[in-house]
């Protein structure tokens, strides 16, 4: 079976197993999220980045995880290579990209603030002839809001780089570029302008997320405290996107009468995230519990280990934390503040204290 067939066969099997509500799977995930932590030249208001953390090291990844992850890498449709910081600001950035480019059949995806996506790097990505989806997180298109949001002077660099890559992408069908907008109380009013900007530049999509609150000082950044304004801006942006023919992906609005019915989140079936210490979790919002691949013999020992099986069972039974407090798993939960607050890595006391204050 060639690589493409392996990917397709795995996708079909994975889909069937999800539909059949299996909790022990024969299929592998269809996407892998390799957390590539790197230095960051911005200090975004809403960021979860810790004070210090080790940066990604390809040699270490290969030594520790490659063998166990190879069956996954051979079957995935997408490889997401994003983490804290700017992966393109690592001295080995190109080497890292080239490593993942070996898996030609998978679309590579990463997020960047745009400042490190230099013309040279853009050319390198395009010349690799791989399919790429790049999320450029700007959160605004005017210099003042950009500076407030990112606490940096990178606006000029970002704009120059965006210009270059958006022009360069006209000559390839293998590159998709989404403009990302993390909605907070600081920038929500700039969303319509951002949609206009994305239309001018030719972005494939404008993707809007609500920000997550990681620390108490980030509490009032949450649009939870500006529900009406947020809904209003979403409406404006929506109409504008139709006029300008831009694909706009908005999350649900606050206080809707109805929300799409709760569905079983697919991520525990389709995706895994691996962080530099070998911990494996289902998605970036999860993680209070995790499993490490380091002490397991094969990938399947993790994939069908206690953590993943439990989480799948809970999702099937509708009694997981995700069902209550995850906007992705249960969109109606967006009207509960808990859904905007990430508890990952916090002690029970910290969580209680936080919710008390909130």
């Amino acid at each position: 079976m060639n690589e493409q067939n392996l990917v397709e066969a795995n996708r079909n099997l994975n889909f069937r197993e999800y539909e059949q509500k299996k909790v022990v799977l024969e299929s592998y995930p269809t996407s892998i999220f390799v957390q590539i932590d790197a230095p960051c030249n911005q200090d975004c208001l809403f960021c979860s980045r810790p004070e210090s953390y080790p940066y990604f090291n390809l040699e270490e990844f290969k030594t520790k995880y490659e063998r166990k992850l190879m069956p996954v890498l051979e079957r995935v449709e997408r490889i997401n290579i994003t983490g804290s910081g700017e992966l393109l600001s690592l001295p080995e950035a190109k080497k890292n990209l080239d490593y993942f480019n070996r898996f030609t059949y998978a679309e590579k995806m990463f997020a960047t603030n745009g400042s490190t996506l230099t013309p040279k790097m853009a050319d390198h990505i395009i010349e690799s002839n791989n399919r790429y989806l790049i999320h450029i997180s700007m959160h605004s298109c005017d210099p003042i809001t950009h500076k407030i949001m990112t606490k940096s002077n990178t606006y000029g660099a970002v704009m120059q780089n965006v210009d270059y890559i958006m022009k360069a992408k006209r000559n390839t069908d293998k590159l998709r570029v989404n403009f990302i907008f993390v909605a907070t109380t600081e920038n929500i009013e700039k969303l319509p302008d951002y949609v206009k900007f994305a239309a001018e530049k030719g972005a494939d999509n404008v993707v809007v997320y609500y920000n997550f609150v990681y620390r108490l000082d980030q509490k009032y950044l949450s649009t939870y405290f500006a529900k009406d304004k947020t809904n209003e801006m979403f409406d404006k942006a929506w109409h504008l996107s139709k006029q300008l023919n831009v694909n706009l992906q908005l999350p649900q609005r606050y206080n809707q009468k109805e929300y799409p019915s709760e569905s079983m989140c697919r991520e525990a079936w389709t995706q895994l995230m691996i962080n530099p210490s070998g911990d494996i979790i289902t998605c970036d919002a999860a993680g209070d519990q995790r499993e490490t691949i380091l002490d397991k013999e094969t990938f399947m020992d993790v994939w069908n280990g206690k953590y993943f099986v439990e989480i799948r069972k809970k999702l099937l039974n509708g009694n997981s934390a995700c069902s209550n407090f995850c906007i992705r798993a249960n969109q109606a939960s967006l009207n509960k503040f808990n859904s905007h607050f990430i508890t990952r890595g916090k002690s029970k006391e910290e969580i209680d204290k936080f919710m008390e204050n909130a």
Partner: protein, 521 residues
């Protein structure tokens, strides 16, 4: 895991210290929280008039004298105490010092202050001077340092911090030494990095360019070591061989820093030479031309060797890529002296490259030395002829203000007999040959003659960096005669100095001491 890194005086103040920037990058890459403190620059910026010239490199000898340094630091103790507060503010368990011979005593003083404040803080020193074991012993005698890092610190520092935070058993950490029951224990030597491309980018987070004398130049170092082994230079003793980053890696780092420092219009390559590998140079230039960082031309300058492979075409490419200036260590116009120095080039190559560079519009500056051991008047005259011939193509000529200083651990320093140097010598500036032909005043005279010839021939000659040439001359001659115990002459020159700068505390003090000695006779 938390650590503070400190740089004590004396060091350059033109741009942030690269050692701290590199170690900070190394530590952050390993997930260790680090804060850098450039005490050298802080004291320089906040110095008062009595010590205004202490950071001029011509007066570097001050920092080699324990009493002078300790007296000076005693006099500014409140300032230092407050700085130590800042170093300890983040509650680091470890404080590391990057030092050289010139910052040895200041580092000892400050590290002792830290230990006095909190004896549980682990202190380590690292720097090229520990290549010599005598300095290791001296360090353990004079200071309360817990560890000394030997060789390249990039990996060692991260490993040491992790071990200290884990269980403190540092015996497994390669590349360090420490005291154990009064015995100096050396761990296994640390292997040198094989591929400099894997080095993390420099981290200037705690050292804003705006705080330095030159905020338009961003310093970078893209190689370690030198392809040559000139006999007056100590580099070869510490950095064995030569390793360099790839052109791609350099270009990437420039782009990275340009985001943070868009105002830095120049890259200042501090490599000993940027053109050791002409293929790399060519590739780098092509990258800079095709991908100018953020769309605007990036200017750069660097040291260079007289590499015969530098053709006119290559020089033109260098110019096109944004190079403003190449700095050549010509040192002498005499082939005999160059050979004796171990310089691997022919005088005619130097002349050709200088002329070609001029033709393509590149600025060239050149450094010269005076009185390399064995240099005769005839040799010196050849240097004068050299500058007369090609001086018009040189943007600026830098005569060494130390004429020929004896560098610790250089070949000449380690082989005085071979160079007919009087032993034991105890001063890097005031050394002399056994026959008394080559002395400090002789070297000074040659330098003055060289300047004169340059001026007569319309060659732009640099006349000192931070202080007036005359002041340096009086300062150094005063101390030379003091060193030679010719006190009347010493007083004469100190007096001349004080006529120009009556506030200088060091000269004032020594002047009074000698006068007191003379009065007591």
């Amino acid at each position: 895991m938390r650590i503070s890194l400190v740089k004590c005086p004396v060091w350059g103040t033109r741009e942030p210290p690269l050692a701290l920037a590199q170690l900070s990058g190394d530590l952050k890459t390993a997930g260790i929280e680090v804060k850098s403190f450039d005490l050298n620059n802080y004291l320089y910026k906040n110095r008062d008039m009595s010590f205004t010239n202490l950071w001029a490199w011509e007066q570097v000898s001050f920092w080699y004298q324990k009493k002078e340094v300790f007296d000076f630091f005693d006099s500014i103790l409140p300032k230092l105490e407050s700085y130590v507060d800042d170093i300890l503010e983040n509650d680091p368990r470890i404080v590391g010092f990057s030092l050289e011979s010139s910052s040895f005593y200041s580092t000892v003083y400050v590290s002792n202050l830290i230990k006095k404040r909190n004896k549980d803080i682990k202190v380590f020193f690292g720097g090229q001077l520990f290549y010599d074991r005598r300095n290791i012993e001296r360090c353990f005698e004079e200071s309360k340092a817990d560890y000394i890092l030997l060789g390249e610190g990039d990996v060692t520092v991260c490993e040491l911090v992790k071990i200290i935070y884990k269980d403190g058993d540092v015996s497994s950490c390669d590349g360090i030494c420490y005291k154990d029951s009064n015995k100096t224990v050396f761990t296994k030597p640390r292997e040198m990095l094989k591929n400099l491309d894997n080095l993390p980018f420099l981290d200037f987070t705690d050292m804003s360019l705006n705080d330095y004398d030159d905020n338009e130049h961003l310093p970078l170092m893209t190689s370690r070591g030198c392809v040559w082994a000139c006999k007056f230079c100590s580099t070869h003793s510490f950095w064995h061989g030569y390793r360099q980053m790839s052109a791609e890696r350099i270009h990437q780092e420039i782009a990275y820093h340009k985001i943070a420092y868009p105002m830095a219009g120049h890259i200042d390559f501090q490599d000993l030479e940027f053109n050791a590998d002409v293929n790399r140079l060519e590739e780098f230039c092509r990258l800079m031309i095709k991908y100018p960082p953020f769309g605007s031309k990036q200017y750069w300058l660097s040291n260079a060797i007289v590499n015969p492979l530098m053709t006119k075409d290559i020089l033109a490419l260098v110019k096109e890529s944004g190079c403003k200036k190449l700095i050549f260590g010509i040192e002498s116009g005499s082939q005999r002296v160059l050979d004796s120095m171990g310089k691997k080039y022919r005088v005619q190559d130097a002349k050709r490259i200088i002329k070609d560079a001029y033709d393509v519009g590149l600025k060239v500056t050149t450094n010269f030395m005076f009185g390399f051991p064995g240099e005769t008047e005839e040799d010196f005259n050849e240097t004068l002829s050299f500058v007369k011939e090609v001086g018009k193509y040189i943007e600026r000529v830098y005569p060494s203000r130390t004429y020929f200083a004896m560098e610790e651990f250089s070949y000449v320093y380690d082989h005085p007999e071979e160079f007919n140097i009087k032993t034991p010598f105890n001063h890097h500036l005031y050394w002399q040959t056994k026959d008394g032909v080559n002395t400090y005043p002789v070297r000074l005279k040659r330098c003055q003659k060289f300047e004169e010839v340059c001026k007569d021939n319309g060659v732009n000659v640099d006349c000192g960096v931070k202080t007036a040439v005359l002041m340096d001359e009086y300062f150094n001659l005063g101390f030379y005669y003091d060193h030679e115990r010719q006190y009347d002459k010493a007083l004469e020159y100190f007096s001349k100095y004080l006529d120009l700068d009556s506030q200088n505390e060091i000269i004032k003090r020594r002047f009074e001491e000698i006068r007191g000695m003379n009065a007591g006779k």
